[in-house]
Every structure is written in structure tokens, then in C-alpha cells.
């Protein structure tokens, strides 16, 4: 068995998620990503099952593995107990750890997620934080969101929140000690290493692509991966 397959097999979720696929297609039939994107979870599973090193490497470098929305509808239907949505997590993890994710348009977006969601976890202890969600990058929020983020203390205060204060309650300030514990957890479990890899591989790719790369959400590379869509991801495009 090839090197990549062996690496995949070290992930406990690979063992949990891949029993044996009979190509029945019930997963693809119900998959929202297969409806809209040029994606097919059945093909993902049979490719992994083939243990073909070349095909798996191509998979890890492609847009294909980034279309899944991890809704797990596939898990409800598979008659063999396979979980394509979980296998997606496994291949995405490996793709990032090996740096293959920068070879695809959708893969490159991981940096944007790290610099938003990832950063907010370490800075605030929340995955989503109101002051970080700007109307400009989230126009679908609607005018009500502008009103909320203009007056957060007053709006959240109506609901007995402790907005950015200590103690229990909505949007409380999570104590620095807890944030430190979170950071240490990231350090010992490989989370910090993953974040650093996302930055480093992206930086190299940006250099290759000739795009300006710097920290934060204003860098040209960040804005590129956050916004760019080649419009070739739909069902009938290739």
C-alpha cells in the first residue's frame, strides 16, 4: 500500500468511516454538494478504496475534496456504514498537513478560515464573534446586523448579556487563563502546528503566484483566496 494510503490509515476516523463501498450511490443521491458542485461522494470513497497512490495524491491536490459541507446526510443512507463526510475530514487534514491544499483554488481558502474562525478561537474563545463579522464581507447579514454591531452593549444588554464582561452570560469575556489553556491545548495536540503550516504553505504559494502576502485580512493573498471563484465548480463545468 502506498505512502499516502498508509498515512490516511493512521487517522482513526479513516478506520471508522471507510468500511467497504459497493458503489450504490445512495450517498451521492442525497448529497447537497453533489447537487450543486461537480462533486460525487461515491467517487471519493471508491478512489480512497482503490488505494491508488497517484489517484489519491491527485485527490488531495484537487478542488474536489473541498466541496463537501459536512452535513452527514450521506451517513444516514449508506447501507455499508461508510461515512463520506467523515472521510472528507480525513483527506482535508492530510492535504493540509502535507501542503497539498495550496494546489487548488478551494484548498487555498483554508488560510482565510484560519485567519478568521481560527484566530477568533484563540483571541476570544468563540468561533464567531460579533465585532469580527463585518457587513462589507457579509452583506447578506442585512441592515439589522449593522444596527447590532453599532450598538452591541445596548442590544446584547437587553438579553441579560455580559457583553465582554466577566462572569457567566452571553458573549462574556472569557478569562485570559482559559484562553491560555486553549492555546496550550492547541500547542500539545497539533493545532498550533496546523495553523503554522497553513500560513507557511500559503506564503510559499503566494510567492509562486506573485501575490502580496502579509498577516491579517487586508493582505492581497488573503483577499484573493477569500473572494476568488473561477466559476468552473458547477455541476456541468469541468
Amino acid at each position: 500500500m502506498g505512502r499516502l494510503y498508509d498515512l490516511l490509515n493512521q487517522d482513526v476516523r479513516f478506520i471508522e468511516g471507510l468500511k467497504a463501498c459497493i458503489n450504490c450511490g445512495t450517498c451521492t443521491a442525497i448529497c447537497p454538494a453533489a447537487e450543486f458542485y461537480n462533486y460525487d461522494p461515491r467517487i471519493l470513497v471508491t478512489t480512497l478504496q482503490s488505494r491508488d497512490e497517484e489517484q489519491i495524491e491527485a485527490l488531495l491536490k484537487s478542488d474536489f475534496i473541498w466541496y463537501c459541507g459536512e452535513c452527514m446526510s450521506c451517513k444516514t443512507r449508506c447501507p455499508r456504514g461508510n461515512v463520506p463526510g467523515m472521510l472528507i475530514s480525513v483527506v482535508r487534514s492530510l492535504s493540509q498537513d502535507l501542503g497539498y491544499f495550496v494546489e487548488s483554488e478551494k484548498g487555498r481558502q483554508q488560510l482565510a478560515i484560519k485567519r478568521t474562525i481560527g484566530q477568533w478561537i484563540l483571541d476570544h474563545g468563540y468561533c464567531i464573534y460579533p465585532q469580527e463579522i463585518e457587513l462589507e464581507s457579509h452583506p447578506e447579514q442585512g441592515p439589522v446586523w449593522g444596527w447590532i454591531t453599532d450598538n452591541p452593549k445596548e442590544v446584547f444588554g437587553r438579553f441579560e448579556a455580559h457583553y465582554q464582561e466577566e462572569g457567566p452570560g452571553i458573549l462574556r469575556k472569557i478569562p485570559q487563563e482559559s484562553l491560555d489553556e486553549l492555546k496550550r491545548i492547541f500547542d500539545v495536540t497539533g493545532g498550533t502546528e496546523r495553523f503554522e503550516k497553513l500560513e507557511e504553505f500559503s506564503r510559499k504559494k503566494a510567492e509562486e503566484m506573485g501575490i502580496e502576502f502579509s498577516p491579517g485580512q487586508k493582505s492581497e493573498y488573503y483577499l484573493h483566496v477569500y473572494n476568488f471563484n473561477n466559476n468552473k465548480h458547477g455541476k456541468d463545468e469541468h
Binding site: G25, T26, C27, T28, I30, R42, P79, G81
Partner: protein
């Protein structure tokens, strides 16, 4: 063999043929059947694959052949079974006791309860029926109409319902549903000219000699469409038609389709009668929940218990010709046993 007694539990195809075969050699056979009628499932069917001969030809042959010396108890169930030495003692639910030298279990199969495949909505959506429901409609010789009384313009057949499915706990293939689906697809096409018929399958198990020819006929003569994809979900539209979601795996495309009638090919599972006997006798089953013979190839009709024999679909899904051959084999094994016990 005179003076030897055998009790056969189950009056379907296997039980009838085994009883007749044994009685032909002078063995005193008692046949116990829990329903009021003999013939088992086949008695409820219209026409049989692959030739589409009437089912009555089979049940007629078997009941005619049934030796008048066979004592038949219909509408009767077994309550207790005990073996002392080489003798079997049976208590029936009408308080009668019977004694025999050998016991044959021919308790057959049940159809998989299609409502357990929740995502297909049997028992919830009116236009989702099983192959058995459709067969009943055929047997009634009326028009095939959907729940709204409309002649269906499009009918879908779903293969592997309750089979090859770890979700419902049945890993095995039920063997005969594929060819039954093709047969019913042909029959629907015949009865409703212009009706579009779709079969949603994973594999087409056309194992019998003439099955492939039936498949070919369904395509060439009747234009039945075959989509290689296991049905994922069915839902009822406002007008009562059924919306189905499946992947056409050969084209690698998910598709949604509306049908007027959806037919679920329910697989074979171990019968409630068999389960009751398992409890009474403390018998074990294999991981497929069917009765386990001593050796599936070499001793397919024997159990580990001397004098206890098995025939028919209580050990595995079978077609009618296989069941008849198996029941005759069981009769032969029983006679060998009775003969050896003598000497």
C-alpha cells in the same frame, strides 16, 4: 418405513413437497400449518418468473400430489416441542399432542417489513407499495391504479429493500427480488401500454438460466429503463406522486424523478413462525438470522440435533424450483435417518 412417523411444521411449498415425498414411501406424515390455507406465499401470487406461468400451477400440483394419507392440520400452531430419546413430542395449540420419529421444520420466510426502511415512507406515503402489494393487484386482475385512482404514467421499482443493507441489519442478498422486479416491470408494461417503467438497482442478479432472457425482453420488447443506483429517498408530492432521489452511478449524476407509483422489492427475512420455533426449541441462527443447517453445502437439511431437519426458505432465500429440490432432498435425508435408526 412402515410405522415411522414424521411431523412437518409448515404447509408451504417446502412442507407440502416434503410431506408428499415422505408419504410416497409409506411414512405416516402429519402436516401442521398455522394459516387456514396451504401453499404459503406462492398461493398469494399471480404469475411466476421467469416464464410468467400462473402460480396456481405450482400450488395446484403440490396440493393435488399431497397424499390423502397425510394428516393435515390447518389453522393450527405448535406450542411445545420436546425430544425424549429419539422420539419427538409436540403439543399443538388446540391441546392435541403428537408423537413422531423425526421432525421437519419448513416454516418458510416473511417479507421484510418495508416500513423499517424509513426513508422510503412505506406506510406513510400512499403511492409507495411493496412487490407483494403489487402482486395482489395483479392477482385481482383489475386495473392497476394508484392511490388517487389514476392510471400511473410512470412506475418505479426499488431493488434491495431490506437486503444488502447493514442499516436494517440484513447484510445478505435475498436472491429472487431482482428477477421478480424485472418480471413485474414487464407485467406493468404489458398491462399499462405507454407506461414508463424504471428499475433502480445495484446489481441485476439474473442467476437462473432463463432470467437473462427475461431481462433482455424487458428492455427490447417493453422499453423498461434500468438505472444503476440504490434509491436514497422517497417523498410524497402534494398531488400524491412520489419524488425519488437516486444517483445514476453509470453517468455519475444524482437525479430526482417523479413517479406515480413506487414499488419496493422487499427481501426475505426469517419468518415469525420460525422465530417462534427458535424460542421454543432454543435454536440458534447465523448472523443473517436464518436457521443454520449443519453444513450449508454437505448437510443443508440437517441440524446438529439427530432427527431434526430443515427444508425450504427457513434456512435461506430460495426460488421455487430450489425450494422444491431442497424439500425432496430433505425427505431423502429423513428417510436415510429413519432407516439408520431402525438398524
Amino acid at each position: 418405513m412402515m410405522g415411522k412417523k414424521v411431523i412437518v411444521i409448515g404447509g408451504g411449498v417446502a412442507g407440502l413437497e416434503a410431506a408428499s415425498s415422505l408419504a410416497a414411501f409409506g411414512i405416516q406424515v402429519t402436516l401442521i400449518e398455522k394459516e387456514e390455507h396451504l401453499g404459503g406465499h406462492v398461493g398469494q401470487w399471480d404469475r411466476l418468473f421467469p416464464s410468467r406461468r400462473p402460480a396456481k400451477e405450482i400450488t395446484g400440483y403440490l396440493t393435488e400430489r399431497l397424499n390423502e394419507k397425510v394428516i393435515v392440520h390447518t389453522g393450527t400452531e405448535v406450542q411445545k416441542i420436546e425430544q425424549s430419546g429419539k422420539t419427538w413430542n409436540i403439543l399443538l395449540n388446540n391441546s392435541q399432542t403428537l408423537v413422531s420419529d423425526a421432525l421437519l421444520l419448513a416454516t418458510g420466510f416473511d417479507l421484510f417489513e418495508a416500513r423499517k426502511k424509513e426513508e422510503y415512507g412505506y406506510g406513510i406515503y400512499d403511492n409507495v407499495i411493496t412487490s407483494a402489494d403489487l402482486e395482489k393487484k395483479f392477482a385481482q386482475h383489475g386495473q392497476i391504479l394508484n392511490a388517487q385512482g389514476k392510471v400511473p404514467e410512470r412506475v418505479g421499482f426499488v431493488h434491495c429493500v431490506g437486503s444488502r443493507d447493514e442499516k436494517v441489519g440484513n447484510l445478505y442478498c435475498s436472491r429472487v427480488c431482482c428477477v421478480t422486479a424485472v418480471k413485474q416491470a414487464v407485467e406493468v408494461s404489458e398491462m399499462i401500454p405507454g407506461c414508463e417503467v424504471f428499475c433502480f438497482y445495484m446489481d441485476l442478479r439474473m442467476f437462473g438460466l432463463d432470467f437473462e432472457a427475461l431481462y433482455k425482453e424487458s428492455q427490447e420488447k417493453w422499453g423498461v429503463h434500468f438505472i444503476r443506483g440504490r434509491l436514497s429517498e422517497a417523498f410524497e408530492n402534494q398531488d400524491g406522486s412520489v419524488l425519488v432521489k437516486v444517483e445514476d452511478t453509470l453517468a455519475s449524476r444524482p437525479l430526482k424523478m417523479k413517479v406515480d407509483l413506487l414499488v419496493l422489492m422487499s427481501g426475505m427475512v426469517t419468518s415469525s413462525g420460525t422465530k417462534k420455533l427458535m424460542d421454543i426449541m432454543g435454536l440458534e441462527t447465523d448472523e443473517n438470522h436464518f436457521l443454520q443447517p449443519a453444513d450449508r453445502q454437505l448437510q443443508a437439511n440437517e441440524t446438529g440435533i439427530p432427527g431434526l431437519f430443515l427444508a425450504g426458505t427457513c434456512t435461506s432465500p430460495k426460488s421455487i424450483d430450489e425450494t422444491i429440490a431442497d424439500s425432496r432432498a430433505a425427505a431423502l435425508r429423513i428417510m436415510e435417518y429413519l432407516n439408520s435408526v431402525d438398524s
